[in-house]
């Protein structure tokens, strides 16, 4: 029986949620952490995991976890959302997007609101589903909303190649993809940021390799541990960060070896490099960062929604009072924002950090003990 086999297979998540092993990890972390330590979980998927499994509750008061810029929805510039809303409302255009993006507010509302006004917005699970949509609707142009980091960009790149191979003239990509290392460098360069370690993103590292963080650890003297997403993965990575911190080390370490190698995934990197070129990109909260975004390379211009449509993309101001930028830079915790839980809630978000379930404000609001509701 397939289900039975799979359930007992070592790769299944249940094994990595064992409360006994977790208790052992926690005991070790408690033993080691004798002074206040502040770690940033870079990746939004870590943020969700930490809240969903109630891990903060397990950690000693000395260990503080803050959320970083690793939620692609949160860091997507309002201007990108506005462009997608614009595209989705054009006659003959249908926008395909991951569900994550649907509720993110832009300057003129979210894609959900645009759909309510008549725009065509379709939620897909895979960029390949957007290709299928384009094939099924030859009289429309299907634009895929490309957001995500190194984990997602190769899949989208492969989809672009496949669209080209199939000669699908009615498919286009709006690329708002971003890459992590330049953003982390920009973040760590901020003198106001006090951090004792980085929980490095697990699946980004599957692509870029655990080695990608070595320079960072060395250049900024900060412990970096690649972490998986199951509770035991996260606790193990925290334990290793604590250990480095108390031992005064600043190294790049890999606590997610089953999914991450030193060199990463060269095929994925090659596909990505074939389709995308690095460009400067605006990150919400961090501003423009050189070479931190991915645009379609000139060879793929025919598939580039930015080239194909005449869009007036202008930088949009952040919502007044929203402290998303500070939250994403680790300068403020969500409850310190005046809107948090008042004007800004997951049902009606003011800023992007409240939108995606891996957004720091949303996770705090929904799962947090303090200040919630």
């Amino acid at each position: 029986m397939a289900a039975g086999q799979a359930r007992t297979a070592p790769a299944r998540p249940a094994a990595f949620r064992d409360p006994g092993l977790a208790a052992a990890q926690v005991a070790e972390i408690r033993r080691l952490a004798r002074r206040p330590l502040r770690f940033m979980e870079v990746c939004g998927t870590h943020t969700v995991s930490i809240f969903r499994h109630g891990l903060r509750e397990l950690l000693p008061p000395e260990v503080e976890l803050i959320s970083g810029p690793g939620c692609p929805v949160c860091v997507t510039d309002q201007a990108d959302i506005d462009a997608l809303v614009d595209l989705a409302g054009r006659p003959g255009v249908r926008l395909a997007t991951f569900g994550d993006l649907v509720r993110v507010p832009g300057g003129g509302g979210s894609l959900a609101e645009a759909r309510a006004r008549g725009a065509r917005v379709e939620v897909v699970y895979s960029p390949m589903d957007a290709l299928a949509l384009a094939e099924a609707r030859p009289h429309e142009t299907v634009v895929f909303a490309g957001v995500g980091f190194e984990t997602t960009a190769p899949a989208v790149a492969a989809t672009v190649i496949e669209a080209d191979r199939r000669g699908l003239a009615n498919f286009a990509l709006w690329s708002a993809h971003k890459v992590m290392p330049p953003a982390l460098r920009a973040l760590l360069a901020d003198p106001g940021l006090r951090l004792d370690g980085l929980l490095c993103p697990g699946h980004v590292s599957t692509i870029v390799g655990a080695g990608a963080w070595r320079g960072l650890a060395a250049d900024f003297g900060i412990p970096c541990v690649v972490a998986g997403f199951e509770p035991l993965d996260v606790l193990e990575a925290i334990r290793r960060l604590v250990l480095q911190a108390v031992e005064g080390r600043a190294e790049a370490d890999n606590a997610y070896p089953r999914a991450v190698t030193e060199a990463g995934n060269p095929r994925a990197l090659a596909v990505m490099a074939k389709v995308f070129v690095p460009v400067a990109a605006r990150w919400r909260g961090l501003g423009e960062i050189p070479a931190s975004g991915l645009a379609l390379a000139p060879a793929w211009r025919a598939l580039d929604a930015a080239a194909r449509f005449d869009l007036d993309v202008r930088p949009a101001p952040d919502p007044p009072g929203c402290r998303c930028g500070d939250v994403l830079r680790g300068r403020a915790r969500p409850p310190e924002c005046p809107h948090f839980g008042r004007r800004c809630t997951p049902a009606r978000p003011v800023g992007p950090c409240m939108v995606s379930s891996e957004g720091a404000c949303s996770a705090w609001y929904r799962f947090g003990a303090e200040g919630a509701r």
């Binding site: 397939a2 086999q5 799979a6 359930r7 297979a9 070592p10 790769a11 299944r12 998540p13 094994a15 990595f16 006994g20 092993l21 052992a24 990890q25 005991a27 070790e28 990746c43 939004g44 998927t45 690793g70 939620c71 692609p72 991951f98 994550d100 699970y125 895979s126 960029p127 390949m128 589903d129 957001v147 995500g148 980091f149 984990t151 997602t152 190769p154 899949a155 492969a158 190649i161 496949e162 191979r165 993103p201 697990g202 699946h203 980004v204 599957t206 692509i207 997403f229 035991l232 193990e236 070896p257 089953r258 999914a259 190698t261 990463g264 995934n265 060269p266 095929r267 994925a268 596909v271």
Partner: protein
Amino acid sequence: MCLAIPMKVLELETPEGGEGLLPPVAVVDADGIRRRVRLDVVDRVPEVGEFVIVHAGFAIHTLAPGEAEANLELLRQMARAVAGEG
């Protein structure tokens, strides 16, 4: 943007046009849930019975045999060490 889960390869489909070196699609399973995933960007073409990590309909990593078990064993050792100490 990095939700990815391990799924077991049930079947490898041969490419339609025969192009490229890889069969582009695998049927994978997680506890009875099946889906076709693309192999375009996987680091190593899996064999039937192996696990791949799946993100957005694409396999992005093939686990080395025993890799997950080794990872877990590492955590178990840590736990035993703590228990031994305590």
